[in-house]
Symmetry: C2
Subunit: 143 residues, 2 copies
DNA sequence: TCAATAACTTGTATAATACAACTATAATCT
DNA sequence: AGATTATAGTTGTATTATACAAGTTATTGA
């Protein structure tokens, strides 16, 4: 019956998230949020905190602090917006790009190890189903 | 090629985790960790913080605080261990069980909505692959 | 022009986590 | 048996990610 799958998925998702949160706390690796913010800037180019907060669905203040902390590490530059003196553009630096890239590679590496023994088809299916789940979740959030 | 799937999965996992963490912060729902601790006590019976910390792979101090906070809410009782005066048993209460159950139902409900339109087979596959991923992750942690 | 709005920062709070220092009890080793 | 070591648990302190509320400066529009 349907209930079984839902129960299984609920259980697995809970464990999945908990382990990731727990592990990230321990290992000193670049924090999830910094990674995501850098990725955002790298993919879509410079932006101000409001736009970023919108995109990432976070509070503006949260993004403001994350961005400041990236500026401190010289991973991003804070450029004044000449057309609007209230706002800025955060732009990823060379160093930031390198850091992002090396982080990406590390993640891929780890994930590759995790997926050892999976068939190509299983990997594709897993990615596809996760994506589908995420799309639904994002749609529901944006209401 | 393989790289594509890995990239997709990495991306989806990052987004997946971030959204869940972010959403949980907003909605006032029972915190992930409290839920997991209650579930643990409900499934495996009373235990002390050391055993719980072991099981959940968390620091003892973390579990100690989580347990205290559940005691305050009357979701668990703290019973002295007669055989060892250093230690205690945390036991889920009636109220705690009810709270856990209602939380479970809520989660199932939400998940059911998320999986609307998925075939039975897709759901089974998703659960199975998540479980497989988790098993690997847990194995790797325990080394 | 001046009140309302907008972009951003900073203060304060909460949850989950870790590590380190501490207390009380138990176990072990002369 | 007594001294030392190990164990179970708690508490202090720190970090990360988050939100909401208050504050500052700049822009807009009636």
């Amino acid at each position: 019956m349907k209930e079984d799958s839902v129960e299984l998925i609920e259980r697995q998702i809970t464990d999945f998230v908990r382990r990731i949160v727990m592990t990230e706390q321990r290992e000193g690796r670049m924090e999830r949020s910094a990674y995501i913010l850098l990725r955002q800037l790298s993919t879509y180019g410079p932006a101000g905190v409001k736009a970023l907060a919108n995109h990432l669905q976070l509070d503006i203040s949260t993004v403001s602090r994350q961005a400041s902390s990236l500026v401190e590490k010289n991973y991003v530059e804070k450029l004044p917006n000449p057309d609007d003196k209230r706002s800025y553009f955060y732009k990823i630096t060379e160093l930031g790009s390198e850091e992002l890239e090396s982080n990406r590679r590390e993640r891929f590496q780890r994930l590759n190890e995790m997926l050892e023994g999976w068939t190509e088809e299983e990997q594709e299916t897993f990615g596809r189903l996760l994506k589908r789940y995420n799309n639904t979740a994002n749609k529901r959030l944006n209401m």
